[in-house]
């Protein structure tokens, strides 16, 4: 099959509603969204605390989060594999090769991105935001929510980038998901598998979906920033 034939077949799979292909897309979106949801609250909360509070060990935590940004996904997958494998400390949970394990892995990958973007957003915020909230009688939670609301464009950029990392990574999903058809096979692991078999059509189709997803979230971010993020 030539590359042109494969591309034609990819379009047929996409627009013909191929159930296997769209099943893979749904698994990818589901795992990335749930992974992101798992990481959003703790990630933003930790980012806010690291930006606003001074305490012993803060610097170590910030450097750790920054280092995790560049952590290879396959290493995260390896660590999780060892933890979740039958003889690992969390083996009794029987999570290995399940979507739950993939969700956990993608949450871990998105977490440092959320933390780093929130630190940057809150530290870059006008100091009068928090002071005004406090002076008007806000407690710590209301003042924090106000500050995050005033920096929502930068914080949302972190959420979108976290989603981008979760949906596009392959190493962690492959190691702890196992690439089981219909269960843990997502877009990236399917592309890797199909390409290794020399069957490009499904890989091209899934690649196009991934590109459209990535473009979609970035266009959404650009639209939001156009409305208020560039103030």
């Amino acid at each position: 099959m030539t590359l042109l034939d494969a591309t034609g077949e990819a379009f047929r799979l996409l627009f013909g509603g191929d159930p296997e292909l769209w099943g893979i897309v749904l698994i990818s979106i589901k795992v990335a969204v749930f992974g992101l949801l798992l990481a959003v609250l703790p990630g933003i909360a930790l980012g806010y605390v690291l930006a606003m509070k001074r305490f012993p060990g803060r610097r170590v935590l910030v450097v750790t989060m920054q280092s995790l940004l560049a952590f290879p996904t396959v290493v995260v997958g390896l660590v999780l594999y060892m933890l979740l494998s039958r003889h690992g400390p969390a083996g009794s949970l029987a999570l290995l090769f399940t979507q739950d394990a993939m969700i956990l892995g993608q949450a871990i990958l998105a977490f440092p991105i959320l933390v780093a973007y929130t630190i940057s957003a809150v530290q870059g915020a006008d100091p009068r935001v928090h002071e005004t909230a406090v002076c008007l009688g806000a407690g710590w939670l209301r003042a924090a929510l106000t500050t995050l609301n005033e920096t929502r464009f930068a914080v949302t950029a972190g959420v979108i980038n976290g989603f981008g990392r979760a949906i596009s990574e392959v190493g962690c999903a492959l190691m702890i998901g196992g690439n089981i058809a219909g269960v843990t096979r997502n877009i990236t692991t399917a592309i890797a598998l199909e390409t290794s078999k020399g069957e490009f059509a499904q890989g091209i189709a899934l690649g196009m979906v991934l590109v459209v997803l990535a473009l979609g979230v970035n266009i959404a971010l650009a639209v939001m920033q156009g409305e208020g993020g560039m103030k």
Binding site: R128, C135, L136, G137, A138, T146, K231
Partner: protein, 214 residues
């Protein structure tokens, strides 16, 4: 109202404030003048609980207040307004309602008080304008309304007419004059001669870290 027997504030290598006994009585309006960098803003920020300082003999409404719980104890009774007020990126009405919400004021009462504050400050017609698009004078009037709606025991106003001229300045001064006439307790840092010379204003001058009653 609010009184301390000694206040000391210093930065590394520099003592900024070294004040003896000072206080603002209930219903008293005070203005503090002084050169740029003399510490006027810092004094207001310390009294608002925004900056730490060594304070002795702090007394609020006749009750001694431990200095380390200062901001917690006074936060809801003392309102500080920045020289360039920050308005949250919601509506003007929401900005004015912010402190009332923080105090858990019921919705109906909150709406009534916000409406009164909008009328008082003369910004009711601007209610639909995004706060970021207001002029400096309009922002200052919204900030004064946002403070007044809380009925604080003490207003701390930092250079409320700085960078304003013409009608905008006159409107802000008119609002402050009303606060003075209503016997609100005020402590204002400013350079504006018209504000300094408002009737009933007690005047202090801050120089070399000391407050001089003028």
């Amino acid at each position: 109202m609010l009184r301390f027997s000694r206040l000391h504030k210093s930065y590394p290598g520099r003592a900024l404030l070294d004040l003896g006994e000072f206080g603002v009585a209930s219903g008293e309006a005070c203005v503090i003048t002084g050169d740029n960098g003399s510490g006027k803003t810092t004094l207001l920020r310390v009294l608002a609980g925004l900056e730490p300082a060594q304070i002795e003999g702090l007394c609020y409404r006749g009750i001694a207040v431990p200095a380390n719980t200062y901001s917690t104890a006074l936060r809801r009774d003392v309102v500080y307004v920045h020289q360039h007020p920050y308005l949250f990126s919601t509506s003007i009405a929401e900005n004015i309602a912010y402190g009332l919400k923080a105090r858990g004021v019921p919705r109906a009462q909150r709406d009534r008080r916000v409406h009164e504050a909008l009328q008082w400050s003369g910004v009711a017609l601007l209610a639909g304008v995004p706060p970021q698009k207001l002029s400096g004078g309009e922002k200052q009037r919204v900030a004064l309304a946002r403070a007044k709606v809380l009925q604080p025991h003490l207003f701390l106003l930092d250079e409320p007419t700085a960078n304003l001229d013409g009608e905008a300045r006159a409107q802000v001064i008119a609002l402050i004059r009303q606060l003075v006439q209503e016997n609100s307790s005020l402590l204002i840092a400013c350079h504006d001669r018209e504000l300094i010379e408002l009737p009933g204003m007690r005047r202090f001058h801050l120089e070399s870290g000391k407050l001089l009653d003028t």
